[in-house]
């Protein structure tokens, strides 16, 4: 293998699994260390730089960082990253004077943002400090988009939403509520320099089976949740069936329980393991005694005398092949399950009835606009998309990242720059050595297991719709959980020319991830390492030839716990622990440095 190119920021970025897994590249280990030191406000601001809504995301993020967490590979359970994020938000001091400042004067460019959800708000957050005159058009009489209408209050209190959205609006964003845009053409005629579409994927999927339109007690999940959020619905029958087993289904079943349902069943077409819902959302629903029935495929609604009395399902059987793929299944029977109400939560589609089809915006077969994945611009110059409206339903953290990227594009577009010519990511490495055996971080491995979120008592929580179920980590839990972080950004950096091949590092490594051996190609080399290196998704870090024997040092990045022992046992300092900081460029960086092109990692945000 060729020596690993550690000058490419991507290499060390990928070692920080959580940060690599996060669409917005939040510097997770850095803010966890701040929390460990009690610097909650600093941790909050570090978070806000990338994800803009730490309090919201600390509760309801889809957490792509957690399945990516190295701890999953080393033991089993990831660090409770999301919970720790909430700790930072819950315990922060007043940080208003650390927020981005409104500009002293506007730069004369006007930007229209459609929809007051997380994508548009992120664009506003990034562009307003640069002097852009930002207007948000919102169809409802309140902000937040799906974060407010689709996520129940017992998971995300309105206060948290109001506070974090307020930080952005307070910079002087012109918010027009109750202002649905019913024609993009009309809006484009109004002299805006750029338009951003952040209207989400607002159309819940329907289930066109017999009986669908013969009762008024069959609801589309996201519409029903919205009605609940706006107090248009405050009750439901005793027996409720939820069709679908995604995260919206989890919100629907738990909401039903709070509106008077006694028997709630979630009907899944496929077996466990093929559910769309996040594992923790499933757990939370099952804790509330929601029953999940697998292998039930909806066949028809059973209507008697014009009244919904039940639903008929086909009982399915599936085969799973050795690669874990499931077949289409075979029907083995039928079953009718009685019910009073049915909520359909089987997915969402994009819908743009208000975008004329002659504006130069191309749509694919799923009604999704054709949008460039880097610039977020569609076929019509000056029109940008982000969040669920761009590529279909994803999640909040993806919408935030879309917002950041769209903001960069809008800025460059408005300044007449090439929107494709964007700042690259940068990387800083700093040695963390403080003394013979001292490092600037807590390097010992802590075998503690993941802390569990304390919940409001099962009897208490159903009394009102807006009782937040999760109480947040206690001090003791926080102290323990932060130590579970393996500090993956504390990189093991190797200098081949200093190595005397004494084997000290190889011998001391607790997870046997180091080997000194003759070089070879990757596949072959993986068979000759100190311990099996079967996870080919994790890189081998290969050094230049060692001075004495021309062999190479090989590190399998898979299971390194960043304990620093290799660097401590190295007599020549060939190994060093260096903190990698990934410099993620934001619109602010594009504005501050036109030439030469380097990112500051959003230092001003």
């Amino acid at each position: 293998m060729k020596p690993t190119d550690t000058n490419n920021p991507e290499y060390f970025h990928k070692v920080v699994d959580c940060q690599w897994g996060c669409p917005a590249h939040a510097d997770v280990p850095a803010y966890i260390r701040m929390i460990a030191q009690g610097q909650f406000s600093d941790a909050y601001m570090e978070n806000r730089k990338s994800n803009v809504f730490p309090g919201i995301l600390g509760r309801v993020c889809d957490r792509p960082c957690e399945p990516a967490c190295r701890r999953v590979r080393v033991e089993d359970e990831p660090v409770a990253i999301c919970r720790l994020k909430r700790v930072a938000a819950d315990h922060r001091d007043d940080i208003t004077d650390r927020l981005p400042k409104p500009p002293s004067k506007n730069n004369g460019k006007r930007v229209a943002l459609i929809g007051a959800g997380c994508a548009s708000l992120t664009v506003a957050n990034d562009l307003r400090p640069l002097g852009y005159d930002v207007t948000i058009f919102e169809a409802h009489d309140t902000t937040g988009g799906l974060m407010r209408t689709n996520i129940p209050q017992f998971r995300l209190p309105p206060k948290v939403l109001d506070e974090e959205i307020g930080y952005i609006l307070d910079m002087g964003v012109d918010l027009k509520l109750n202002h649905a845009i019913d024609s993009l053409k009309d809006l484009l005629d109004e002299d805006y320099d750029a338009v951003f579409v952040g209207t989400g994927a607002p159309r819940g999927k329907n289930l066109e089976i017999p009986g669908r339109y013969d009762s008024d007690r069959i609801y589309i999940g996201i519409d029903w949740l919205e009605s609940v959020a706006f107090d248009h619905v405050d009750s439901i029958g005793e027996r409720v069936l939820i069709i679908g087993v995604g995260n919206t289904a989890m919100d629907c079943c738990r909401t039903s329980l709070r509106l008077g349902a006694k028997d709630v069943k979630v009907m899944a077409r496929k077996p466990r393991g093929f559910f769309k819902a996040s594992s923790w959302e499933l757990e939370d629903a099952e804790e509330e005694n929601v029953e999940i029935l697998v292998n039930h495929s909806p066949k028809e609604f059973v209507i008697e005398n014009g009244k919904l009395v039940g639903m008929k399902f086909e009982l399915m059987e599936y085969k799973v092949d050795d690669k874990g793929r499931i077949d289409r299944g075979t029907v083995t029977g039928e079953k009718t399950i009685p019910c009073d109400d049915v909520v359909l939560a089987i997915g969402q589609d994009n819908a743009f009835p208000w975008i004329e089809r002659d504006l130069g915006i191309e749509f694919d077969q799923w009604e999704c606009p054709v949008v460039d994945e880097t610039t977020m611009m569609c076929g019509r110059e000056g029109v940008f998309f982000g969040g669920d409206s761009a590529f279909g339903p994803k999640n909040i953290i993806w919408a935030v990242e879309h917002g950041h990227q769209a903001a960069i594009s809008i800025h460059k577009f408005c300044q007449g720059e090439d929107i494709e010519d964007r700042l690259p990511m940068g990387l800083n490495l700093e040695s963390q050595k403080m003394g013979m055996h001292e490092w600037s971080y807590s390097n010992d491995y802590n075998p503690a297991s993941r802390r569990l979120m304390p919940h409001v008592d099962l009897k208490q929580r159903f009394k009102k719709l807006d009782i937040e179920v999760e109480l947040g980590f206690t001090v003791e839990q926080t102290i323990e959980e932060v130590e579970r972080c393996l500090n993956c950004d504390m990189q093991t950096v190797f200098t081949a020319s200093l190595c005397i091949e004494c084997d000290a590092c190889v011998d001391v490594c607790p997870v046997d991830c180091l080997t000194i051996a003759a070089n070879g190609d990757e596949e072959e080399l993986r068979t000759r390492l100190s311990a099996p290196a079967r996870n080919t998704e994790q890189a081998l870090y290969v050094s230049a030839e060692l001075p004495h024997t021309a062999r190479v040092m090989i590190k399998d990045e898979d299971l390194c716990v960043h304990c620093s022992l290799c660097a401590e046992r190295c007599p020549t300092g060939a190994w060093d622990m260096q903190k990698s900081t990934i410099l993620v460029p934001y619109a602010l960086d594009e504005a501050q440095v036109s030439q030469p092109k380097t990112a500051t990692g959003g230092s001003g945000a």
Binding site: I500, E501, C502, D503, D507, C513, A531, P532, E568, P571
Partner: protein, 351 residues
């Protein structure tokens, strides 16, 4: 040393031996030697060897004297028996232990100071009586624990960190052992585990005295330019002449070796090692030719490594003395001590 202990977490894919243990289970406490010390690599090689041999920790006795080397038994197989004895007196203590319990496997870890200066008399007599033990010398040419004075194994002309070069003849433990009739004599290098681990396995299984002289650089006092026991010097000048493969009893000996190229040696316990000659002209079964070869290569400035002499035909201490098979420590008292009357009879025989 490090402030943190080696984390207990281990690689989930680590191989397990016949006892269901991983190599991690054969570790000891964290080393307090200097970072980069060759002795730590020897420790790692010992761990690997006893792990691969499926040795039950409680059947192992770790013996040592005084010195950096003699600290190392603390760093491997923490469940084994251990005796950290007086400076240079490890061979006598081991003789006593072995006399009492011949069932244990004895591994003595010593250094060039402990064995070739203060303990040289003990060392040579342990060889003479063919004590059944694996005797390891972690050889670095200096007294590391007392800040780097030359030891008895320092080569003529070798430079200290500061001061005059050494002018006294070195004692070579390998030649010494050859001349005294040791039955398994090997030399290796701490930085070459591929060669060292099989040599150690052979030494542990050998019946009788086995010497493994290991060049183990002192990273603090003897790893500079001008030193003949540095990592760099050793790597430049060492030569494999005979390597060893340990053949697990469960595996058949593959007949893939050609006569003269490789040679099986059947050990007393039923195990087999396979000698692989790197230099055809070398004969590891002849003391005379081994001696000649070693001297010639030494004069040419080379460090000859590998299994340099092996002789499975000589009886070890207990066999020489005709002792009972059962360890003395396990004999019932009435057998161990035949009583006054028997003693009187014996004494009468000498009158």
């Amino acid at each position: 040393m490090s402030y943190i202990a080696k984390p207990k977490i281990s690689h989930p894919g680590l191989p397990r031996n016949a006892l269901g243990l991983t190599s991690r289970d054969y570790e000891g406490s964290v080393s307090t030697l200097c970072a980069g010390c060759g002795h730590d690599s020897v420790t790692a090689a010992i761990i690997q060897a006893v792990f691969e041999l499926d040795i039950e920790p409680h059947m192992l006795a770790k013996m040592s004297g005084i010195g950096c080397s003699s600290k190392t038994p603390a760093y491997f197989v923490h469940q084994a028996h251990g005796f950290n004895s007086v400076h240079g007196r490890m061979p006598s203590v081991t003789t006593g232990a072995n006399a009492a319990n011949r069932d244990l496997m004895y591994i003595g870890v010593s250094g060039d100071g402990d064995s070739l200066s203060i303990g040289v008399g003990q060392f040579v007599h342990a060889i003479r009586r063919n004590l059944n033990m694996c005797y390891i010398i972690e050889n670095n040419g200096v007294y590391g624990l007392t800040k780097g004075q030359f030891s008895a194994s320092a080569d003529i002309g070798s430079m200290p960190k500061k001061g005059m070069p050494n002018q006294q003849e070195p004692i070579d433990p390998v030649s010494t052992a050859l001349s005294l009739g040791a039955t398994y004599i090997a030399r290796s290098f701490s930085g070459d585990k591929e060669q060292l681990v099989p040599l150690l396995k052979g030494a542990l299984l050998h019946s009788g005295f086995s010497l493994v002289d290991i060049i183990s650089p002192c990273v603090t006092f003897n790893d500079h330019e001008g030193s003949t026991k540095s990592y760099a010097h050793t790597r430049q000048h060492y030569h494999h002449v005979v390597n060893v493969d340990y053949i697990h009893p469960s595996k058949e000996i593959k007949a893939s070796y050609e006569e003269g190229e490789a040679m099986p040696i059947h050990l007393h316990g039923g195990d087999t090692i396979l000698l692989r000659k790197v230099d055809d002209s070398y004969d590891p079964t002849s003391r005379a030719s081994a001696f000649k070869y070693l001297r010639e290569r030494f004069n040419a400035g080379e460090i000859t490594t590998g299994l340099l002499y092996a002789n499975e035909s000589r009886a070890e201490m207990h066999e020489l003395m005709g002792n009972v098979e059962t360890p003395l420590s396990k004999l019932p008292l009435d057998e161990l001590n035949p009583g006054k009357d028997e003693l009187a009879k014996l004494q009468a025989g000498y009158r």
